[in-house]
Symmetry: C2
Subunit: 284 residues, 2 copies
């Protein structure tokens, strides 16, 4: 009999107990798949023996005034796209199966969900962390792939996995953009032609913030103003937030003297868009 005190060593032991199971890569999605999702699937395809994609529009992560009802559902196209990306299995559950009437459990990540998206969408992250925990338990993947576009979501899920010791590695993949810089998103299809053109301002604003940092601006406030300036030219836009923050804690930086992540969120009419970019210092 052995006694183990360290979590790490327990995990190593548990791992050794398993046989050579196939390596499973998992891409959780809400469907309405675009190039961003497909890049996750291709990455998983390269790194794993089996690729599982879930398609589930998760009601728990939508607020009561949000777009759950009109969220795009395009299963036949999604299925074809998965097939072409070499996916082995699509998990496509029904709401009543994932959340039966007796369902009453939530998974809550506290501090990291207070700011930014969490402030504007108060129940959003609890819905995300609950469904992601459940999907990870069901699929049992070795690796799960998330896009950087939802950067706060990625950070929250990393924390969740660490805190609950979920036996999975979370992989962050680069944001995929349209030719004009707009981050790909299932919600982009809500945009009318004029709105679509206007939408590029989000990435341009973030890029302006990054340029300010490269140009030597160090004040968080000034960098933030730099990003907002571009947006304020367009009264049709409403800004939710722009911020320069620490890439792990997501706390706003008063002074930028190492890596930072620039987060932005705005609304064009009824459509809400988010995006982010990293800014590095010193290595340039």
């Amino acid at each position: 009999m052995r006694v183990i005190q360290s979590l790490r060593r327990l995990q190593v032991w548990r791992c050794r107990m398993g046989q050579q199971n196939p390596r499973i890569g998992f891409v959780p999605t809400m469907g309405a798949l675009h190039e961003g999702h497909l890049s996750l699937m291709r990455r998983a395809r390269k790194e794993c023996d089996l690729v599982v994609v879930s398609i589930f529009v998760n009601p728990l992560q939508f607020g009561p005034a949000e777009d759950l009802g009109r969220y795009p559902r395009t299963f036949q196209a999604d299925r074809k796209a998965c097939e072409q990306a070499g996916v082995d299995l699509i998990f496509f559950p029904q709401v009543k199966d994932l959340y039966p009437s007796t369902f009453q459990t939530s998974v809550v990540v506290k501090q990291l969900t207070q700011r930014w998206e969490g402030e504007i969408r108060p129940t959003h992250f609890q819905g995300v962390t609950t469904v992601v925990t459940k999907l990870l338990n069901l699929v049992g993947p070795h690796r799960a792939y998330f896009g950087q576009k939802d950067y706060q979501q990625y950070i929250v899920i990393k924390q969740l996995v660490e805190d609950l010791s979920l036996p999975v590695t979370i992989i962050r993949c680069p944001t995929v953009r349209e030719a004009d810089g707009l981050a790909m998103s299932s919600r982009n299809r809500y945009l009318g032609a004029t709105e679509r053109e206007l939408a590029t301002v989000l990435y341009r604003a973030l890029s302006a913030g990054k340029k300010a940092i490269t140009d030597g601006v160090r004040s968080g406030k000034k960098i933030q103003q730099n990003m907002m300036r571009l947006c304020k030219k367009h009264p049709e836009l409403s800004i939710d937030y722009f911020t320069v923050c620490h890439p792990l804690t997501l706390e706003p930086l008063t002074r930028v003297d190492r890596e930072a992540v620039l987060l932005g969120a705005l609304r064009i009419g009824k459509v809400r868009l988010i995006d982010n970019i990293f800014a590095f210092l010193g290595s340039a």
Copy 2:
């Protein structure tokens, strides 16, 4: 490529993907092991290839005024007892490893934790469900064993496992009792000689409730009064609750016409004791 919609079938698929791993049985404990714990280990020993016991006094499940500091810690004796019960591995983590300073995630089961223990110990079940989720993720058992003595805890954990689709079967094992009926508990060792004698009233009260049901009493209120009557003879006791309730929802029954569970909790001085018994109808 396959498409699966049903959770059950996904689980079956996931299962088939694994090779013949050893069956792991898991007994989570807070140490201070007694015959109750040992009966769980023996059951696991019979049913599984490997038996894992965790020993961890979980601070999250103690209230600020509770007995975390003086909770008995008897690792050397526990280790010997595990050895004799044929345990393969003890997981004995440190608080700082299970809950590092960045830890910020909770698992919450809502309705089932409102009443009874949850009402008297408001943060207790959140602490239990959080640590149990984490331990199950770390150990990855096929089966986890819980004593009936903490009946509400068992029901809450069943719900947790169902709601989060944790890949484990929860097994309820009978309460182990002293010769005079007192349910075994690590907290019994707090009892002085006079208190120890008095403590038997809890099981006697529950048994009186069960007898009332067997004798044909159907009113939940009357059965409850039957249980309380015995305790009220002893002013040294303070009753937390006695109730007749539904064995799955834990809602109090106004009329007993099927199975019921009788729950009781009381305090003798600083020591808090809980216990429960089933009452069946019709099959007698």
